[in-house]
C-alpha cells in the first residue's frame, strides 16, 4: 500500500496512465490547404478529403471554417484535433463577444492565440497534430498567417500546408502579385489545387474555396476541378526516367 501516493485528478496528464493519452500519430488526416491575399481580402482553398492512413475514407470533410467576424481557419492534419481547436476558438470568440464593447478579436489576435496553444501543447509532448492557416481582414487590413504543430508561425502573402509547401508555393512565388482580382486569385488557387490533385495521393477532386473580405466570409459549395490525364508523360511515365516505376 502506498501511503504517500499523490492524488491525481482523473484527467491529469501526469503519471504513467497519462502516457497512453498523448498524441503519438494522427489517424484521420486532411491534406494541403493553400491560401493567398488578393485585392479585397483572402482566398483559401482545401479539398474535402479525410484520409484514414492510405484509405480515402471521408469525402465531405469541411476543412475551412469561419472564426468570429473577421477570420477564416483552414487546417490540415488530424481532423479530431482540428475539431478541438474549433471548440477552443468558439469559446474564445464567445467570451470576446460577451464583453459587448466596441472591440473584437481580429485575425492577428486569433493567429497569435493559436500559436500559443500549439506551442504550449508541443512543449508538453502532446501536440495538436495540425498545420493551420489563418486568414482575415479587419479595418481594411488583410492578414494571412500559418502555424504548424510545433508552433512555428509566420505571416506571408501566400501560404500552404503539407504537400502544398512543395507543390503550390513555387507556383505562388512565380505568379502571385499584389492586388490580384478575385477571378485571378481563384484561377491561381485552382492551378495549385490541380497540381496537388495530380501529384498528392491523399488529395481528392472535391474542393471548397473560401473568401473573406471586410464585408464577410463566403465558403463555396463543393466542386471538382477539370483534369486531363492524356498527357504523353502520363502515358509513358518511365520514358524520361529509366528504372522508375
Amino acid at each position: 500500500m502506498n501511503f504517500m501516493a499523490s492524488k491525481q485528478p482523473e484527467n491529469s496528464l501526469l503519471g504513467p496512465e497519462a502516457d497512453s493519452q498523448r498524441t503519438l500519430y494522427p489517424y484521420v488526416t486532411g491534406t494541403s490547404v493553400v491560401a493567398l491575399k488578393y485585392k479585397d481580402g483572402i482566398l483559401m482553398a482545401a479539398d474535402m478529403g479525410g484520409s484514414y492512413g492510405s484509405t480515402l475514407r471521408y469525402k465531405s470533410v469541411e476543412r475551412i471554417k469561419p472564426i468570429g467576424k473577421h477570420s477564416l481557419l483552414g487546417a490540415s492534419g488530424e481532423i479530431s484535433d482540428f475539431q478541438e481547436i474549433l471548440r477552443y476558438l468558439d469559446e474564445l470568440i464567445l467570451y470576446d463577444n460577451m464583453w459587448d464593447d466596441g472591440n473584437s478579436l481580429g485575425p492577428k489576435e486569433v493567429h497569435n492565440y493559436l500559436t500559443r496553444v500549439m506551442y504550449n501543447r508541443r512543449n508538453k509532448f502532446n501536440p495538436l497534430w495540425n498545420s493551420l492557416v489563418l486568414g482575415g481582414v479587419k479595418n481594411g487590413q488583410k492578414y494571412l498567417g500559418t502555424v504548424s504543430m510545433i508552433g512555428v508561425n509566420f505571416e506571408d502573402n501566400h501560404v500552404a500546408t503539407g504537400f502544398g509547401n512543395h507543390l503550390a508555393r513555387p507556383i505562388l512565388r512565380q505568379e502571385w502579385h499584389e492586388n490580384l482580382s478575385y477571378e485571378d486569385g481563384v484561377r491561381l488557387l485552382e492551378k495549385c489545387m490541380r497540381v496537388l490533385l495530380y501529384r498528392d495521393r491523399s488529395a481528392i477532386n472535391k474542393l471548397q474555396i473560401a473568401k473573406i473580405t471586410e464585408e464577410g466570409t463566403t465558403i463555396s459549395q463543393p466542386y471538382s476541378l477539370k483534369t486531363y490525364w492524356e498527357f504523353s508523360a502520363f502515358a509513358n511515365p518511365a520514358q524520361g526516367a529509366v528504372g522508375t516505376w
Binding site: D101, G102, N103, L105, E109, N112, R116
Partner: protein
C-alpha cells in the same frame, strides 16, 4: 461623516442601504493630493500635484505607465495604487503576449472594477483606498476612465480627483467642450491650468506637478521637468493678461499678484497694479 454602528466592517449594510466602509475608502481618495485627466479625440493628458513630505524627501510617484497605450494617475493610498498598477501591467503584458495586440482600455477598466468590487464583499478584505484615472487608446479612440474604490467606473471627457479637485473640476467644466478637437499642446496647457486651480494660490512650477501624455502615434510617457516648465512659462505670461478676464470665481483675484511676483523672480517686469 460620523461614526455609527454600521461602519465597523465592509460586509455590514446600514439601514439606509449604505456600505460605510466603502464610503470611507472613497474619503481616502478625497484626502489624497489632486490628479486630473482630460482627453481630446486623439490624446489624453494626465496631471497630478506632487507634494513631498519635506524638502529632504522625494516626491511620491502618482502616475504610472501601464503599457504603451495606457497610463494611470492615482489619488489616495499610493501603496494601494502601486499594487493595482502592477496588476494592470500584468494584465496588459499577458494579453500582449497571447494576442500580440494591445489590451483594449475598456476591458482593463472593467477587470479593475471587478477586482475592486471583490474587496467590498469579503469580510476579510478591505476596499482599495485609491481612485484611479485610467487614460488609454483603443480601437475605438481615446478614453479616460475613473475607477472608484466602490468598484464603479465611469468614462469622462475630463475629471479631477483628490483634495481641492473641485476647483479643477470647475475649470474643466467651463472648458470641456473645447477639448474634443483641441490640439495636444492645448490639452497639456488646459491640464496645467486645471492643476493650478487646485494649488489655490501657490505658484505653479514643474517641481510640484507631473504631466503625462498618451495619444495616437505617441506612446504613454511622462513629460520631463524642463518641458513642463517651458509650457508653464509659455502660458503663465499669457495667463497674467488673461487673469482679470478669466475665472470670475474665487481663485482669480488671489493668484494674480502672486503670478506677478513669480514672474518678476524669473526676470519679467513687475505688473503696474
Amino acid at each position: 461623516m460620523f461614526r455609527n454602528q454600521y461602519d465597523t466592517d465592509v460586509t455590514t449594510w446600514s439601514p439606509a442601504g449604505r456600505l460605510f466602509q466603502v464610503e470611507y475608502a472613497m474619503e481616502a481618495v478625497k484626502q489624497g493630493s489632486a490628479a486630473i485627466g482630460l482627453r481630446s479625440k486623439t490624446h489624453i493628458v494626465l496631471g497630478c500635484v506632487n507634494k513631498a513630505n519635506s524638502e529632504l524627501s522625494s516626491h511620491q510617484k502618482k502616475i504610472f505607465k501601464v503599457d504603451d497605450h495606457i497610463g494611470v494617475a492615482i489619488a489616495g493610498l499610493t501603496a494601494d495604487g502601486r499594487v493595482l498598477s502592477r496588476y494592470m501591467r500584468n494584465e496588459c503584458i499577458n494579453y500582449s503576449f497571447t494576442y500580440e495586440s494591445p489590451l483594449p482600455v475598456g476591458r482593463l477598466v472593467v477587470q479593475l472594477a471587478d477586482k475592486a468590487q471583490v474587496c467590498t464583499q469579503r469580510s476579510w478584505k478591505r476596499p482599495y483606498g485609491v481612485g484611479l484615472l485610467v487614460a488609454g487608446l483603443d480601437e475605438s479612440g481615446a478614453h479616460l476612465y475613473y475607477n472608484c474604490p466602490s468598484g464603479n467606473y465611469f468614462e469622462y471627457q475630463a475629471f479631477a480627483i483628490g483634495s481641492r479637485s473641485q476647483a479643477a473640476k470647475t475649470y474643466l467644466e467651463r472648458r470641456f467642450e473645447s477639448f474634443t478637437d483641441a490640439s495636444r499642446d492645448d490639452l497639456v496647457k488646459d491640464a496645467l491650468m486645471a492643476i493650478r486651480e487646485t494649488l489655490q494660490g501657490e505658484t505653479l512650477k514643474s517641481s510640484v506637478c507631473t504631466i503625462a501624455v498618451v495619444g495616437v502615434g505617441e506612446p504613454f510617457h511622462i513629460l520631463d521637468q524642463a518641458t513642463v516648465q517651458q509650457m508653464i512659462d509659455a502660458f503663465e505670461i499669457v495667463g497674467e493678461q488673461e487673469g482679470p478676464a478669466a475665472a470670475g470665481q474665487e481663485a482669480s483675484a488671489e493668484p494674480e499678484p502672486e503670478q506677478g511676483g513669480a514672474a518678476a523672480g524669473e526676470g519679467v517686469a513687475p505688473m503696474d497694479i
